[in-house]
Amino acid sequence: MSDQIQAVTMPKWGLSMTEGMVAKWNAEEGSTIHKGDELVEIETTKITNVYESPVSGVLRRKVVCEGETVPIQALLAVVANLDTLESDIDDFIEQYQSSLENRLAVQDKLDPSYERVEIDGQGLRFLRAGDSGQIPLLFLHGFGGGINSWMFNQPPLSESITTYSLDLPGHGESNKEIKAGDISAMMTSVVSFLSSLNVPRVHIVGHSMGGGIALKLSLDHPELAKSITIISSIGLGREINSKYIEDFIGANRPKEMKSVLTELFANNKLVSRDMINDILKYKRLDGTTDALRRIAADVFPDGYQSLIMKDHLSQLRIPAQCIWGTEDQIVPISHTNDLPSNIVTHYVDGAGHMAHMERSGEVNRLIEELIRGT
């Protein structure tokens, strides 16, 4: 592998990303880098994130300077051996650049598209990505989230495993008319979703409220879950930042929404105009506010969590892990105290409630390792 010349290219985060800007290089030309190193910070209209090197070797050439904006798939850097000839690197760059249009066309064809499924008269939107014969991976987002919550997780993980994400009832572009908003009702929808797609078993990754759904599903339907990863999950203790829930439901103007969303992150610079606009677009849809109120009333009545499953978790007979950003302001990190020993807890520094976005590389690696261990 290391005798090849390897390309580092602009990643595609989320279906709508078409280009990105190289904000900052974290390595110099001539330095040795390893797969997983934080190589470059990339800014999109939605979010700024660190891109981890997909390859190991010597960083021989930076093709894109800081401040430059290039399309997805564009060549950012060349990684090779120390003794690879400069002229070979020049040839490699020239060849890559001349094939960029073809690559973009291929990417276009490979891109998954949103699908819909009807469950008990309720339309759910989902995204299927990746294609492998193994047991697939299911993402369950948190309160007010959606498919896009997994923009840094679903694309990379779908390279090795089939993945599904969905807009839970009342969320995203799924139906807003919900009969009940509690964890059991949402779990039932997820179970029906899986059976309608003929998926008998999944690895589950659940964030926050989605973590609560994941836990409930694993306990009530052990045959469906192959492994479970929960991130800043509910279901482990009574407390929840109820002011955040209320403010999120009430915020209808960009400025209000911005101050609400900054609570989710350790680094509040991550909240971009596009992120705010995407959430406002969702919140403007008829029925959204009612649905969110209904869910909040059922899941967090009187500002406290209604379903605590901590005492039952030792019954889980599947690999299970719990991931928590050390700066979480929404669900207290103290809820990870006294978890049964069958659940491994990982704390993620420099992350708030959205560890899977803020430290996506680390979280993706933990998810992959758990799946591989099964």
């Binding site: 949103y114 209808n252 105009r273 606009n277 403007r284 849809l285 008829d286």
Partner: protein
């Protein structure tokens, strides 16, 4: 999210609100076509085909083709709104409002005030505006400042398909008379638009670009030109904020002031005639409320004070363009090209 044209977005807002609320009716000239004739029904659907398909679904009692008499059908719509319906009247070209202006500014705009708050007038007047279609001076004006001038009217100028659907839905559900401006060159523009109904509140500006150097406030179709200018300028490291006020009445004054306080420089882009326009209005607002934040003069990009020319070359020269906007911005940051 599916891509839809501006035309589809407006059609969808009308159809969804007509399904949701049986009091929503639409009236106007040739909005269906074929009334009283033995020939093809619904052959026309308005000059842009926006309303085509509504008559077959909702019937002639809710999709009313009218004679060519704006003073009659706008007056009828005002009366219907005051007595329990939610009419959406199609004024075709805003240039025609001269003959029905009394109904709009002396009647509809005044009912709530003169009846002591005991009357509501949930009327929407959809109308086409703007130059660029070689339609000559009687079919190309941008007359939204005239309506913005009248207390009691709400004035909405969407810049894109997403904006159009959400703002029209809000307009139909609003209890006051709303004049809804559609730029005739935007109908084929495409954008992601949700299938579900949604509303965008009035009086809430949208920032379509964010940058520290210059604020560009643009109206209606001009928002798209301002965005393009901002993207071009970014390549020269000039960062612009672009503000789309969405509605000129009510106007989100605070957002405009806040962004000018951040950047210290203002360019206003307005397709309306240059005197007593939205550009002059916003300039006065900023001069009054944020004068000390300004690092240089306010620049207005607008057409000359003439009728819209018919000769294609002259019409093109008349309409503010991306180059004009870029030059106005460059003149403020001292990087002229």
């Amino acid at each position: 999210m599916p891509k839809k044209t501006f035309r589809q977005a407006v059609h969808e807002a009308l159809a969804q609100e007509m399904r949701r609320d049986p009091t929503v009716v639409i009236v106007g000239e040739d909005i269906s076509g074929g009334l009283g004739s033995p020939g093809e029904q619904d052959a026309w659907g308005g000059p842009q085909g926006v309303t085509k398909g509504l008559m077959p679904e909702f019937g002639r009692s809710r999709v009313l083709d009218t004679p060519i008499s704006e003073s009659a059908f706008i007056g009828a719509a005002v009366g219907a709104a005051a007595t329990g319906l939610r009419p959406v009247a199609d004024l075709m070209f805003v240039d025609f409002m001269g003959v029905c202006f009394d109904q709009i500014f002396n009647q509809a705009a005044k009912f709530r005030y003169m009846f002591g708050g005991r009357a509501v007038t949930p009327l929407v007047i959809r109308t086409m505006y703007g130059a660029g279609l070689r339609a000559a001076s009687q079919h190309s004006q941008s007359l939204y400042p005239v309506f913005t001038h009248i207390p009691g009217l709400k004035v909405v100028i969407p810049s894109s398909p997403y904006e159009a659907k959400g703002l029209l839905t809000e307009a139909i559900r609003d209890d006051d008379p709303v004049v809804f401006f559609e730029h005739k060159t935007l109908y084929d523009v495409e954008e992601d638009v949700p299938d579900e109904a949604y509303t965008i509140p009035f009086g809430e500006a949208n920032l379509t670009r964010e940058g520290d150097d210059v604020s560009i406030v643009a109206i209606g179709r001009m928002v798209n030109l301002a965005n393009e200018a901002a993207d071009n300028l970014q390549r020269d490291n000039i960062q612009c904020t672009v503000v789309d006020p969405r509605t000129t009445s009510p106007m989100d004054e605070d957002t405009i002031i806040e962004t000018v306080e951040d950047t210290g420089r203002l360019v206003v882009v307005d397709e309306a005639s240059p005197r007593c326009s939205i550009a002059t209005d916003i300039s006065a607002l900023v001069a009054e409320r944020a004068f000390t934040a300004l690092k240089g003069p306010i620049r207005m990009v607008r057409p000359p004070h003439t009728p819209v020319p018919f000769a294609p070359e002259l019409e093109d020269a008349y309409i503010p363009n991306v180059h004009d906007i870029c030059e106005a911005v460059r003149s403020l940051v001292g990087k002229s090209q």
